[in-house]
Symmetry: C2
Subunit: 201 residues, 2 copies
């Protein structure tokens, strides 16, 4: 966007702030009541505005969930985007820890994003674009871990990143659901990361 | 159970058959409407019996879901329990394929079992016992794959089996949700199995 176009900056800021207020409210409802609870009416009540204010901005429930998914993916992006000055292996491990931390700290945001059938699964949605941005970080982490080469046994680094992601997802999803056959989930996660590092390096 | 105890076998068989009829009905409701749809009333309607017939047998919704989870885990057990005459590596691969096939063919049964917060998460429940039986199959597969040794980098074979399971779960859960960043999910699954085989052998 060019700086000269659009409404004066003061007014735009107020509009952006309302957007944030409504999104904060929607996220609170999501965290407290889960996906089913996120309705235009519930979010309006939470933010103490008229339902029309939410409709005008997000349309319907799908619009709300899409915006929430974008925010969650943006936070997840920050959680895995470790400083490039860190060496590849510790950077990969820190990013994996960041991924786990996000998933366990915000299980309902994580489920919205990766629970299936949500906004991320819709090709071309804004959420799917943000999802891909997170995946790009993972690709770079895997590539750097493998010394810039394609990891052994994979056609390309994207395929390897996809496998890494599925494994991380499985671990945090089971841990967050309280399902495990051996005790000590943090240990399981560390062992998984060890295995991935050994395989990809 | 001893054969001499209990009611005459003819009557017991009828009772067992009613149990199966109700469970079939509950499973149909689950497959069609998901977890939220499985109520005593819905299952009674599906089976064309009075609700009291379902209450008497399963108590409440939790009882129904527990019985459904046990049945699903029993089917999953059959899906991963490959004939011991098959060599360790192809046996491991076949079991992993069986796991994926079950999850994709019956996404709602799979979600009931491993979706979190369900009957399997309750320590001491019948479902948790069946869940552990499936895990025992996985432990044996991993142990045989590793030539009877503890796979490198793990404290014991159970820990390695847990890591394998989390990875398989992540892959099928994302695939069943239609979420992936690279196309060709069956390929991703195969690459994951390749990576696991390389790491554990």
């Amino acid at each position: 966007m060019s700086a000269g176009a659009g409404p004066p900056s003061r007014r735009r800021t107020a509009s952006e702030r309302l957007h944030e207020v409504l999104l904060d409210a929607a996220q609170d409802v999501l965290d407290r009541e889960g996906l089913a609870g996120v309705t235009v009416r519930a979010v309006a009540r939470e933010a103490e505005v008229a339902p029309m204010g939410v409709y005008n901005r997000f349309g319907n429930k799908d619009g709300l969930l899409g915006a929430l998914a974008v925010r969650a993916l943006n936070d997840l992006w920050h959680a895995v985007d470790v400083d490039r000055s860190v060496a590849p292996e510790p950077r990969f491990r820190q990013a994996c820890d960041g991924y786990r931390h996000f998933a366990l700290a915000h299980p309902r945001r994580y489920a919205l994003v990766f629970g299936g059938g949500g906004p991320v699964a819709r090709t071309g949605s804004e959420a799917s674009v943000y999802g891909h941005a997170v995946f790009e970080v993972l690709i770079e982490l895997v590539q750097d871990l493998a010394g810039g080469r394609t990891p052994r046994g994979f056609a390309d680094v994207g395929e390897a990143a996809q496998v890494v992601w599925t494994a991380l997802h499985g671990a945090v999803h089971l841990e967050s659901g309280g399902i495990g056959q051996v005790s000590g989930s943090p240990d399981t996660y560390r062992r998984l990361i060890d295995l991935l590092v050994r395989s990809l390096r």
